[in-house]
Symmetry: C2
Subunit: 238 residues, 2 copies
DNA sequence: CTGTTTATGTACAGCACCGTACCGACTGAA
DNA sequence: TTCAGTCGGTACGGTGCTGTACATAAACAG
């Protein structure tokens, strides 16, 4: 399939490239379907591809030797997976897991690095995105340390909702607990509290967002801060 | 003072540059003395300089709107302060505070960005350092969430010890509590536990490291992981 | 030497998690 | 239609912090 023609099969980050650069870039991409749970990167392992989500959603997870896991960022249509490739590193330090199945544009590591060298606009864009990532990861660090599980759950739902079509998110409490680094039972309590307030509804593997403004009020300010950072660094490119 | 001649007034990161590039870089630096507590960057504020610590020590701190603060990385002689300058950003998202007084090389933002464009070796080096930072910040996120205060205290002391001449660290429990995002009283308990084990000793504003191997055993593996990452990304440049 | 400031020691109730465990309910495959 | 597997609801005691408070001790300025 020719990725250069169909604008619906695109990625918001790449969309902000100049037409010329964008076309050249897309010509070297292929579209892949990513199933839920697929690992796009593992800590310590070589990165083979850069991914630009179209309608899938990927979690970036920090892992500890002791086994602990904590989601530190998310990449959907507004982002990409494989930032170490911009930094002269072959290996990933984070784990990247497909959290929402869907399509993505994929480019081999070597090819991506080649494009980075040839397209100053791409290089600039990727650097700005990297700065957004830095801010988000730092924010997540402090957020996980200070904020209540309920607020963090609300934040996570909002972030996922932003990167998903429709109001229904297909995830289990178990999965969410893995992202937030807490017990499954803890998520159930938090979710129930949000449900009782009429902000969400859920049944067996799906959570439905009913009241976004309410969720925003229930979430910590980290959500708003992240959006603001992205807006300032990426959208205000024009 | 001419920074190009005296090798003792240098910075380990810059030392790994090719002689040529290094000299040109140092020629545009000035040496400044940084007092304890001085803020080199504030979240949301414009960055005026890049700093390359000679014998001072700087903490990078994530701040929350709600007031919470958490140290996410540290820059001593092995690092630098002002990474957003490499990423096309003018503003800092983190706070940078001088945690150990001392000297640093300083270069204006514009000049630094100029050097980045002219010296591919510098660009490569800075990118690799950025990757180290990313790993460390992610690690800190999970560490603060999962590990005990005692282990985190040990880790912090080791990291600071690595970046300090001698075994005596001049910090109060109060300050440390700010970095770790906990109560002052909590740090006192952790410090006392480490002291009772004979790993450290302390009195009013100074902590002395007595048993490094012991401290390493008491710390979480995050300390070792961080060192390994730095070694792989920076030292193995040669 | 005195009074002030700063640093550390200690205590206590409170709370948000933890690990674990078990049950019921839903789902999908046989 | 039954059964196995998955998911969510709930409960228990335990623990590592929290916020607060107050006392002691060292450092310092006068």
């Amino acid at each position: 399939m020719d990725c250069t023609t169909s604008p619906s099969y695109s990625n918001r980050l790449l969309d902000s490239l100049p037409e010329e650069d964008r076309k050249r870039f897309l010509a070297d991409c292929e579209i892949v379907d990513l199933a839920f749970g697929r690992k796009l990167a593992e800590p310590g392992e070589t990165i083979s591809y850069a991914f630009f989500p179209i309608d899938c959603l990927v979690s970036l997870i920090a892992t500890l030797e002791s086994g602990g896991r904590l989601e530190v960022s998310m990449a959907g249509n507004e982002g990409m997976v494989g930032f170490p490739l911009m930094l002269g590193a072959e290996k990933s330090s984070l784990q990247a897991v497909v959290q929402g199945a869907g399509a993505a544009l994929r480019m081999s590591s070597a090819c991506f690095q080649d494009h980075l060298e040839r397209s100053p606009a791409l290089e600039r864009l990727m650097k700005r995105y990297l700065n957004v990532l830095m801010s988000q990861i730092s924010q997540s660090a402090a957020c996980a340390h200070y904020h209540s599980l309920e607020a963090r759950t609300a934040r996570w739902l909002l972030m996922t909702h932003d990167r998903t079509r429709g109001d229904e998110l297909r995830i289990t409490h178990e999965f969410l607990s893995g992202m937030l680094g807490v017990r499954r039972a803890g998520v159930t309590l938090a979710a129930k509290a949000l449900q009782r307030r009429g902000l969400i509804d859920y049944q067996r593997g799906r959570i439905t967002v009913h009241d976004r403004p309410g969720l925003e009020a229930a979430s910590c300010r980290c959500y708003a801060t992240d959006r603001k950072t992205y807006g300032q660094m990426i959208e205000r490119l024009a």
